[in-house]
Amino acid sequence: MKRPGLFNEELLYECYQCARCTGSCPAAFAVDGFNPRNILLTYLRLGIEAVITDEKLWCCTTCHVCEDRCPQLIDVADLLCSLMNEAAMQGHIPEKVRASAEMILRTGRALLVSRRVDSIREKLGLKPLPEVPMEEVEGILDQTGMAVLIG
């Protein structure tokens, strides 16, 4: 699992705050105040506490556009991922994230599949969603420790 300690911090110090990451980030434009450049800087200057307690961290969609465009080849998305992991380990999980995680624990899916979904699929000529192999899902959640984290 990606954890902040495992991240090559030296590389982060090469960030010169050009803001191409934030300027490219779809989440930053959707959510006021989510700002990958700022998260990186806050992490470096104010420490990990300051970033993992801020729920906005979780807005990253892990699309990796920021990484594609970073002129310094900094793994911005990887950094955000590892910070989210660390936040979760320390129990800083936003309610909405926890809710969808619990949903996965229960149903194997992040969202509730309503009858409406089925009818839309039918109209589009798609087959109904298959059954979730819950045993397998539980196995994965156990092994990754997610069950405990949410539990």
């Binding site: 010169y16 705050q17 050009c18 803001a19 191409r20 990451c21 934030t22 300027g23 490219s24 980030c25 930053a28 434009f29 700002n35 450049r37 700022n38 556009v65 465009r69 002129p71 310094q72 080849l73």
Partner: protein, 829 residues
């Protein structure tokens, strides 16, 4: 080379003179105030020195380098008939020339002087180990005395310098260098690849920081080149080959035909009828030209030319003769052929300039996809009165004047996705461009998106402040991407203003990408032709970044302008004048002395195999195919010694760094307690200087190490290392400049190969490979040097007597090539 015969004769005379008396060595141990005597016992070292074989007197003194100290040495040489002098004091990089001069004044050949570095390499780095430092100093003196016994007098040769210069590249740097040298009275050949001289400066409109019209200040210089009696201008020409060495280069130039004779009056009648239209390169393809054309109005030489790639006439078949018919002076000549010109020159100045970065790979910026995204060089052509639009800034999409523009900084610079360095000129160029737009179209909204504005030069900050005052908006934060409105072709810039931590969206009519500067695409060719080293970024490397900024490591070849690194016009011209002056110094002197440390090849032993020639970074070894004998071109040889270990027949002698002299140093250090000692080979320019720097910085490290200096790590013969192990020395460090920084272009790549070969051999023989270490240490890495020694000390502590014994057996003298037997090696003269 004219003096070689004479030099050889003098050499022999000198050799005889010293051989007759046997070595009579004087040793001087310097206290350097308390710098040395404070942490080791100089008196004891001097006493010890007097007991060494060949030493007739040994003294310690307060300051050996003082006038009194030098006088003492001089009078001792005369009085005691000394024929060798050893001074144990500071680094030879500091005072070797001082003491050599003193010896010469007293009639002793400079090469019979030797130094032991007991300050930087001893007293300063073992401040708290008086015993260890004193023992080490004794060892260092013993090694120097052993070497001194075997030193030979040397005579430096003189090489004549041809008083003619070649300048490659006719940008502003090449123009300046050529004019300076021509004014000084030298014949100058100026070779320019394009149809006209002028370079980038001819393309740009105004110049920062003064906002002068670029071509107005350049054109007079260009015409001066064209008519200067001492300058032979060759356009459409490229260097094909370069042979020779400092002062004596033979250069072959290929000159492409113009198909228009020198009688051309530049009337332009010919072009109107030419049916072939091509993109005009000079205008970055923003306009067209005919097949017969002149790149720009002020071109020098002021004659038209035919681009045969676009002309309808091919392979000598004339399908169209409209230009021929139009020309009243009958200057069109389709029969012109390519010419090869042979030049003999003494010095060469490389001014090949730079290319600009092509931002196409940065797809998020839409260059080439969106017509209104242009580069700063294209902008220069658009705003130039002599350009395709007559100086009207218009959008390529609809030919309207943009009401708003955005400049994006650092495009292709300061980035691991393109070029890592700052391109130096683009910040100021943008400020200049912004002000130009303000001047002509004051209502235009101008945004500059930047990370840092670098306005470091004289007058730069003033210009920046003027732009701010005049309403140019500076926004910190480079857009993440550019989007185009497909109807209006306007552009949307999205990004973050980092100073406000707020996202922005700006709509502008035009975007100018402030592209960086990069090495010429064909710079590898020039690099190969002239054996020039380059930096990791591809720009040519200077001999020393501070003290020899326009010299290249190859004697007689100099650099100026953007070929050396991104810079503005002022710096290019400054460098050009500096390079011209350096070349002038050589040519005015008319001759150059070559330090007598060059390689010599014994024709009796040489089999002409050519292995040495293959590793010589300077191409200084020539193998005669008929006689099967290799010879060293003394003026081209720099004395790196990379060739010497390559010879399987012991045919190469490195003067002043001879095999037996180095083996004698190893013998001396191995005489006592070899199993506890570290032998370090350090190259003169980097790792030895790095060790000096440890001393200057008082970085402490274990006293077990003894340094042997070679000019280059490429001199370190694997047999030296084997000999050291055969003598029971615990560990060996081979060190040199970092790969890519070698003072001798790439001689250290041989070092690497040889050490790897040794490691494989040690593994085969069951020896602990850790006993041999390879390290690249720059002159600034004093800490690194001390770390390497500390690491080796740890290894030495772990080595068992059995392991040492195993090494002794594995590399026992019987394995040494004939003629290198230690007894023979250390036999005094």
């Amino acid at each position: 080379m004219a003096k070689k015969g004479k030099a050889d004769r003098q050499d022999k005379v000198a050799r005889r003179a010293t051989a007759e008396n046997g070595p009579r060595i004087g040793v001087y141990v310097c206290h350097c105030g308390l710098n040395i005597d404070g942490s080791l016992d100089c008196e004891e070292v001097a006493k010890y020195a007097s007991s060494l074989e060949g030493v007739v007197l040994a003294k310690d003194s307060m300051y050996t380098c003082s006038d009194a100290g030098q006088e003492q040495i001089k009078s001792d040489i005369r009085e005691h008939n000394l024929n060798r002098v050893v001074v144990a004091s500071c680094t030879p990089r500091l005072h070797e020339p001082t003491f050599r001069a003193a010896c010469v004044e007293a009639g002793l050949n400079a090469y019979l002087f030797e130094m032991a570095n007991i300050r930087e390499h001893c007293s300063w780095v073992h401040l708290h180990d008086r015993q260890g430092a004193t023992e080490k100093a004794k060892d260092l003196v013993k090694m120097s005395v052993a070497r001194a016994r075997l030193l030979q007098p040397q005579v430096e040769t003189e090489v004549p310098i041809t008083p003619r210069a070649l300048v490659v590249g006719g940008g502003v740097a090449g123009i300046q260098a050529a004019l300076d040298l021509a004014d000084a009275g030298y014949k100058v050949y100026l070779v320019e690849k394009e149809a006209s001289i002028g370079g980038r400066m001819a393309q740009i409109d105004k110049t920062f920081p003064t906002m002068d019209c670029s071509i107005c200040i350049l054109a007079p210089k260009m015409s001066e080149v064209g008519r200067h009696p001492n300058i032979e201008l060759m356009t459409l020409s490229e260097v094909e080959s370069v042979d020779g060495y400092i002062g004596n280069f033979h250069v072959r130039v290929k000159k492409k035909p113009r198909y228009v004779t020198d009688d051309c009056t530049y009337c332009g009648d010919c072009i109107k009828d030419c049916p072939q239209h091509m993109p005009n390169e000079f205008d970055c393809g923003l306009s067209t030209r005919r097949a017969i054309y002149s790149p720009f109005a002020q071109a020098v030489p002021a004659t038209y030319l035919i681009d045969m790639d676009s002309c309808m006439n091919k392979h000598g078949i004339v399908a169209c003769d409209r230009c021929y018919q139009a020309c009243q002076h009958k200057c069109i000549d389709f029969s012109q052929q390519e010419e090869i010109l042979d030049l003999d020159v003494g010095t060469i100045i490389v001014c090949t300039g730079s290319d600009v970065y092509d931002p196409t790979p940065l797809t998020e910026l839409g260059y080439r996809r969106f017509p209104n995204v242009i580069t700063s060089l294209e902008f220069e052509r658009l705003i130039n009165a002599g350009g395709p639009t007559g100086g009207n800034l218009i959008r390529p999409s609809d030919k309207t004047v943009p009401k708003s523009v955005g400049f994006l900084q650092c495009i292709g610079s300061r980035s691991k996705r393109s070029n890592p360095y700052c391109s130096n000129i683009c910040c100021m160029n943008t400020i200049k461009d912004a002000l130009l737009i303000r001047e002509h179209w004051p209502d235009t909204k101008i945004y500059v998106f930047y990370m840092d504005i670098r306005a470091f030069g004289k007058g730069f900050e003033d210009l920046l402040m003027r732009a701010r005052r005049e309403g140019v908006v500076f926004i910190r934060g480079i857009p993440g991407e550019i989007l185009q409105d497909d109807n209006s072709y306007s552009l949307k810039l999205i990004g973050e203003n980092t100073l406000l931590s707020k996202l922005y969206e700006y709509e502008v009519d035009m975007v100018i990408l402030s592209v960086g500067i990069e090495p010429r695409k064909d710079s590898a060719v020039v690099k190969r032709l002239l054996s020039l080293p380059s930096m990791a970024d591809g720009f040519f490397m200077e001999a020393h970044p501070k003290l020899r900024p326009v010299d290249t490591p190859t004697g007689g070849i100099f650099l100026a302008g953007c070929a050396e690194g991104p810079k503005d016009i002022k710096d290019s011209v400054t460098q050009a004048s500096a390079a011209a002056s350096r070349a002038n110094i050589l040519m005015a002197k008319g001759k150059v002395t070559v330090e007598a440390i060059t390689a010599r090849i014994d024709p009796e032993r040489c089999t002409g195999c050519g292995l040495c020639a293959r590793v010589c970074p300077y191409g200084a070894i020539l193998v005669d195919e008929e006689t099967k004998v290799a010879t060293v071109v003394e003026a081209a040889c720099t004395g790196c010694g990379a060739c010497c270990p390559e010879c399987n027949f012991g045919a190469i002698t490195m003067r002043h760094f001879e095999d037996h002299q180095i083996l004698a140093q190893i013998d001396a250090l191995a005489e006592s307690d070899a199993g506890g000692k570290i032998l370090a080979f350090c190259c003169n320019w980097c790792s030895y200087a790095g060790a000096d720097f440890s001393g200057v910085s008082r970085i402490q490290y274990p006293a077990e190490v003894r340094i042997v200096r070679t000019m280059c790590s490429g001199r370190v013969d694997p047999k030296f290392v084997e000999y050291a192990f055969a003598k029971g020395i615990a560990a060996v460090l081979v060190s040199g400049c970092h790969i890519g920084d070698c003072h001798y272009i790439n001689a250290n790549s041989q070092t690497e190969k040889r050490v790897q070969r040794l490691w494989r051999k040690m593994a085969r023989l069951g020896l602990n490979k850790e006993r041999l270490r390879l390290a690249w240490i720059s002159a600034a890495e004093g800490m690194r040097f001390s770390q390497e020694i500390s690491a080796l000390k740890e290894i030495v502590e772990k080595i068992t007597p059995e392991e040492i014994e195993k090494g002794i057996e594995a590399f026992a003298p019987k394995r040494l090539p004939k003629g290198e037997h230690p007894d023979e090696a250390t036999r005094p003269v």
